[in-house]
């Protein structure tokens, strides 16, 4: 039991400490793709550290939700960490508390509170950002559902640890339905974390912004928590993508410190590959017009639908 608690703490710390680093990698690589030098990879840490020391300004009209939401948004990815295989192949004691669907709902809770908080201040940008964020995530939801259907058809389970274990066998990985599912899930991750074809994370002074409009009124400590939380959300989603779906290997099979340490390094290597991929997409594509986002997610839906079809075809 103590071993499991320690392992869980190590998982927490891994996500907490390395999430801003992945964000820094993406920003740096993106700058390189655009022939700029770009900020240091440690810049997100500097930002968060500086903001944590600053005073938080709360609008006069705001209710308790406004100051409550950042804490929820910050905690929610850490709760999901309890459910997914971040470092170990064997399930830890909270692993059966919820499945992938449950994890999705828990993550959505953070977004829900952020939407409430953004509307709470009564600022025009908050309402605009909220409605757009809802628009994107309700289009993304069916895709996620289809992905989970495919997963549960193929592996007879939606508990992430079991899916990981089943997919680690050789038979299922190269299957067409699996490739389609991986692609669809990646498209949803891009949409949910506000990356480029859907939203531009680099701007906060644009009429077309989605995520930045929601956090417009935040400052100081609260903003630091939100930035850290969104970095962790991306880290967690990418972890699910890598460790559950794409490469269910490289996790620690025992609780030995060396094995766990190796698992951390392997996870970071996977994240570096994902950062390269995302930076490449961001460096080469432009943001879609808002109503075109529906087409982007529609395409993701068709891909996930094809995954189900090809699975039922038995290939």
């Amino acid at each position: 039991m103590t071993k499991a608690i320690i392992l869980n703490l190590v998982q927490f710390l891994t996500v907490l400490l390395f999430a801003p680093l992945v964000k820094g990698w993406i920003n740096r690589l993106k700058a390189v793709f655009q022939s700029r030098r770009g900020p240091s990879v440690w810049q997100p840490y500097h930002d968060i550290f500086k903001l944590l020391g600053k005073q938080s300004v709360i609008p006069a009209e705001a209710s308790w939700i406004f100051s409550f939401a950042p804490y929820i948004y910050f905690t929610v990815p850490l709760v999901v960490v309890l459910l997914i295989p971040v470092l170990t192949t064997f399930p830890l004691f909270m692993a059966f508390m919820g499945d992938m669907l449950g994890g999705g709902f828990v993550l959505a809770l953070g977004g829900f509170f952020l939407v409430l908080a953004a509307m709470d201040t009564g600022s025009a940008f908050g309402g605009l950002g909220s409605s757009r964020a809802r628009f994107v995530s309700f289009m993304a939801e069916p895709v996620l559902m289809m992905v989970f259907f495919t997963v549960s058809l193929a592996t007879q389970a939606t508990i992430p640890y079991i899916v990981n274990k089943t997919l680690a066998g050789p038979a299922l990985l190269l299957a067409p339905s699996h490739i389609l599912m991986v692609l669809a899930f990646f498209l949803v991750v891009l949409a949910e974390t506000g990356r480029i074809p859907v939203d531009n994370p680099a701007t906060n002074q644009e009429l077309s912004m989605i995520d930045e409009a929601r956090v417009m009124e935040y400052s100081g400590r609260h903003l630091a928590l939100l930035q850290w939380g969104s970095a962790m959300k991306m880290f967690v989603l990418l972890t699910i993508w890598w460790n559950v779906l794409v490469t269910p290997w490289g996790l620690a099979a025992s609780a030995a410190p060396a094995a766990v340490g190796l698992a951390v390094i392997v996870l970071l290597a996977k994240m570096a590959v994902a950062a390269l991929l995302i930076a490449f997409i961001e460096g080469t594509l432009a943001k879609l017009r808002l109503l075109r986002v529906a087409e982007y997610l529609g395409a993701a839906f068709v891909v996930s639908l094809l995954a189900v079809i090809t699975y039922t075809m038995g290939v």
């Binding site: 190269l174 389609l180 529609g298 068709v302 891909v303 094809l306 079809i309 075809m313 290939v315």
Partner: protein, 220 residues
């Protein structure tokens, strides 16, 4: 046995990617996007032909893969690119008869139709079935592209996609199609694209547009 299993999986996966590239040509909003989607699709077709060639060791499949690569993945895209580059001004946003979501959903349904049509065929392995489904689905989606697009160049790409699908279906079912037939099809294709390229240029010269919806009156 192991090799054939891996090859089967590989053909499966390549066929699926082939189908995805077909969807990319449906989704593409820019003319060059359509052409690149076609080039990718041809590349995947080449990969399937090459895999089958390695597995069966049939020399004519190697030749076919090489021909498909040079003609379909390089020459025809280059030709289309030149046509677009020289003359067409509506490169960016294409116009459709049907909206993008409707088009996508229709394409999804067409894949289901293709599956329903092919899944009952006897004496086909699972891999061949996947490739056949991808091929027939692509034929149907190519025809749909020709109906739903208004611009001439994407219509040409729709026809080319349908032809790619045909070749995929042929590879899936009769791996030893006579080489002379395949070469004949490829030559036809090149001639067709050349003629259509000239046609598009004439359209631009006469009407300054490639929007086929504007060419509806017959003149005797």
């Amino acid at each position: 046995m192991f090799h054939s299993l891996v090859a089967g999986r590989l053909v499966d996966s390549l066929a699926t990617l082939f189908l995805i590239s077909t969807f990319a040509s449906v989704v593409a909003r820019q003319m060059m996007g359509c052409v690149y989607a076609y080039a990718t699709q041809s590349l995947l077709l080449t990969a399937v032909a090459l895999t089958l060639a390695v597995v069966t060791g049939a020399p004519h499949l190697y030749l076919l893969a090489g021909l498909a690569f040079f003609v379909k993945a390089l020459f025809i895209p280059w030709l289309l690119k030149r046509t677009i580059h020289d003359s067409v001004h509506e490169k960016r946003e294409l116009s459709f008869y049907f909206g993008m979501p409707a088009s996508l959903i229709t394409s999804g349904i067409l894949v289901v139709v293709a599956w329903a049509a092919t899944s009952n065929l006897p004496n086909l392995g699972a891999a061949a079935l996947a490739a056949l489904n991808a091929g027939v689905g692509t034929i149907l989606i190519g025809l749909w592209t020709m109906i739903s697009r208004r611009e001439a160049v994407p219509q040409v790409v729709g026809l080319l996609c349908a032809e790619n699908g045909l070749m995929m279906a042929a590879l899936a079912t009769v791996a030893d199609l006579p080489l002379i037939t395949e070469i004949g099809i490829l030559l036809d294709l090149v001639a067709g694209v050349l003629i259509m390229g000239i046609l598009v240029r004439h359209m631009v010269a006469v009407g300054r547009t490639t929007d086929t919806a504007k060419f509806q009156r017959l003149r005797g």
